[in-house]
Symmetry: C2
Subunit: 480 residues, 2 copies
């Protein structure tokens, strides 16, 4: 009960993050080094995210399937960039059923290779295209420095894998799924990410182009929160995914892949959280409203609980996710802290005074203290609560957008750039060369996050680092 | 297009099964030996099953969580029966991130051990109980003889894991989840399983008691389609899951686990299928109705498609899962066969004659040929279709129940028993000894499937094999 105070975000952001994740019962470490247990409260959040994404995937014509976690090791070697990117991170099964395996199996770090192998069998003619499949599963990457949600040995995600007849279709798909992620981030998670193309050194191993969404965390570092890859014909050639076109000629397919993972939970925590703990965006919150009955004796309890149950049913009937905290042996104050830490967007207190006045007391999680509190009538409580949840959702997005924009600058020169990326995002002209990017990273710890391809004058400025002519502007920031 | 005819079930049941699974696009083998790819049509079926089960789990107070797939190898060794049962089937990761691991990790064959380890950390006092958690994931067992859905290296399932303060509560949970599986089988999958307690030799490694549902397949063999285990204090003692009771004394918890897997898809195929292919129970069918437009030229097509689209929207608005097969270049006859093979419960044909008569032609999948066809008015088409889907669902359950009952007998003597289990189920008195069960298996290939604990006279009969006094009756059958 008497747990020590949360670390404050300004004093030690890292400690704050680790403490809230554990103490809010979102996740825990598993017994094998670096693995994660997502606890029921965290998993319910993930289920809500899955539903919001899955609906968007199905609306854009995708279907789900289930693919094996085991991939013959030789598959990884077939695409040159892919093997280079993933080989160091593989978990390898060498023993099965008590016997040494002739060919070791890797536990999928991502499924492009087994998808490539399979699509080459499934796709024969242009009539079979496009193939639009998504997988919900977990993948394994042997990370050395782990952090719950952000980087663990195994994590949960979705990976979309599509095959098309033309480059144009594949590019359209890649951008469509980037849009889906932006829409999900904004309208479900109340996160306003920057988005754009990744630099050459930051793109997915095996992609022609990677697009990403990049969110600004509370400590002004960037977090890559979703990626969409145009894989060109790289995997089609490595795995022989060909189709007979309508001129009866064999053509290689154009493929894409795109993914968003439980890492995104970390992004939500670090976007919205405050020194009291987590703040869940109402649309994804496991509990949208927590109802706290307040009473001093059994008589009061009987009367209070009657109203609590009635209001809870009304809200549930309108698909509002309500939780009644009727635990015995805990003070209301303890319960307030408990649910503040866990980020429930709206708290409803009902005590004898509320019963007498036919009112309830509401407390917004996003506005701490008295300013966030209001006493409202029990009449129309459902519409009051629904409206307020929308207000909270909008206000979280507005706050996140403002925070992002007020910490993003266009640098005058490289000294200014260094100053900016020490504590924010820089949007800077850049020559696009790997060497400049490496030098910037060494000198400032910031990397290019994404290239927004926004409307730019035909002639660009000059690279913030080397001064050469630059075609692109990119966001630079320190990142997770 | 010109695929050869399906094998008939009577000629070669095994060949029939393998052929329909592949040809109906439910599943395929993965590149690593014995692994399975569940294709979109099969995965949609699994998603519908997941929803129907998950709703029941949540209604009975359970929440979902995510646990790691990797378990330290030493965990498996802690519970004596468990290690004996699962050791021969393990997939072992020995290399991670390019290095030999100090302690190998097994890919979970089931999660009792990692759950035990974790619950021992999470549970402190009686206030923390019960813990009611379910996981949706995949598990790996190194099977040598594989068959799609029935036995593959990796399969998808749910595994529930609960911890309780008393034996009674754990037993109540175990039986409650058995009831959930029976209810799901009957009311969603139209399967009428027998159910009861498993014999000592057939129970889960580490359980005190295992209960199962056992369905009769079209070849009169049994398929275990779901299990619920009372684990007693076996895992609580092996993993030190203790709680402080309200007298301030430490007590071991009582735990349960229960699971149902993609194997159940095999049970549905082999319960309802016929020589034309699969028959999907309407409540779980990916497509409940397939709409086939019939026309000879573009003018007819325009008129027909208008009605097809209108009726499709009407049905969709009432949450009926409709699919329009408007593929060009395929005859209606080809489409009929295509969807018959895939088991869509109801086919709706709309041609120029239907347009003229304001009618549609319906064909039930469960009644082949003219008897299953009817011409109905387009007015009230939604209620006609909903009603018919219920009729089909009920009729599949009735047919499966009749088939089961008309192939289950109580044997007069052991000769009669042998005759029965050669082609059906026997419900026989049995002494309960392992030795008798082994002898029966050797002599007849049949094993005890479950002990129904039905109302029996206080004094039992005599064992069908050894003639000794018997307390129990058990179902015996050859099984998958």
């Amino acid at each position: 009960m008497s747990k020590k105070k949360l670390p404050s975000r300004t004093e030690d952001y890292n400690d704050w993050y680790n403490t809230v994740v554990m103490r809010a019962d979102l996740a825990d470490y598993g017994p094998a080094r670096g693995t994660m247990i997502v606890k029921p409260y965290g998993w319910t959040l993930w289920e809500n995210m899955q539903q919001a994404l899955d609906r968007r995937f199905k609306d854009t014509g995708h279907v789900n399937a289930g693919f094996p976690m085991f991939i013959p090791k030789s598959f990884i070697d077939r695409e040159a960039s892919h093997v280079e990117g993933f080989s160091p991170e593989l978990a390898v099964v060498t023993i099965g059923g008590g016997k040494q395996l002739e060919e070791p199996l890797v536990v999928r770090p991502t499924s492009e290779t087994i998808i490539g192998h399979t699509y080459s069998k499934w796709i024969n003619s242009y009539r079979d295209l496009p193939v639009l499949i998504n997988l919900w599963n977990s993948v394994v990457r042997w990370e050395l420095r782990t952090k719950l949600f952000l980087r663990t040995l195994e994590f949960w995600w979705q990976e979309g894998h599509t095959a098309h007849a033309t480059y144009e279709e594949a590019q359209e798909e890649t951008l469509q799924m980037l849009d889906v992620y932006i829409d999900f981030a904004r309208n479900e998670a109340a996160i306003a990410p920057f988005y754009g193309r990744k630099s050459n050194s930051e793109k997915f191993p095996g992609a022609d182009v990677t697009y990403s969404i990049e969110a600004m965390m509370g400590d002004k570092k960037a977090l890559q929160a979703g990626t969409s890859h145009n894989l060109g014909q790289n995997f089609a050639k490595a795995f022989d995914i060909q189709y007979l076109d309508n001129n009866n000629e064999m053509q290689y397919c154009w493929t894409t892949s795109w993914g968003l993972s439980t890492r995104f939970i970390g992004a939500m925590i670090m976007t919205h959280g405050d020194d009291q703990g987590i703040i869940m965006p109402p649309r994804l919150a496991p509990h949208q409203v927590v109802l706290i009955p307040i009473y001093k004796d059994d008589d009061q309890k009987t009367i209070v609980m009657e109203t609590v149950e009635r209001i809870s049913s009304e809200l549930l009937d309108h698909d509002i996710r309500v939780h009644i905290d009727d635990r015995e042996g805990f003070t209301p104050g303890h319960k307030f802290n408990h649910w503040e830490l866990r980020g429930v967007p709206l708290r409803m207190e009902i005590g004898p005074k509320d019963i007498a006045n036919q009112s309830v007391t509401l407390a917004r999680r996003d506005i701490v203290g008295k300013e966030g509190k209001s006493i409202v009538s029990q009449d129309n409580i459902t519409s009051i609560v629904s409206d307020l949840l929308i207000v909270i959702q909008d206000s979280l997005l507005e706050r996140a957008t403002k925070f992002r924009d007020s910490n993003t600058y266009e640098p005058r020169d490289y000294d200014h750039f260094k100053e900016i990326v020490a504590d924010g995002f820089a949007l800077a002209w850049w020559c696009g060369e790997d060497t400049c990017e490496i030098a910037i990273k060494t000198e400032t710890k910031a990397t290019s996050r994404c290239i927004p391809d926004i409307d730019l004058p035909v002639k660009g400025g000059t690279c913030i680092h080397c001064g050469k002519m630059a075609k692109d502007k990119a966001y630079f920031a320190k990142s997770y």
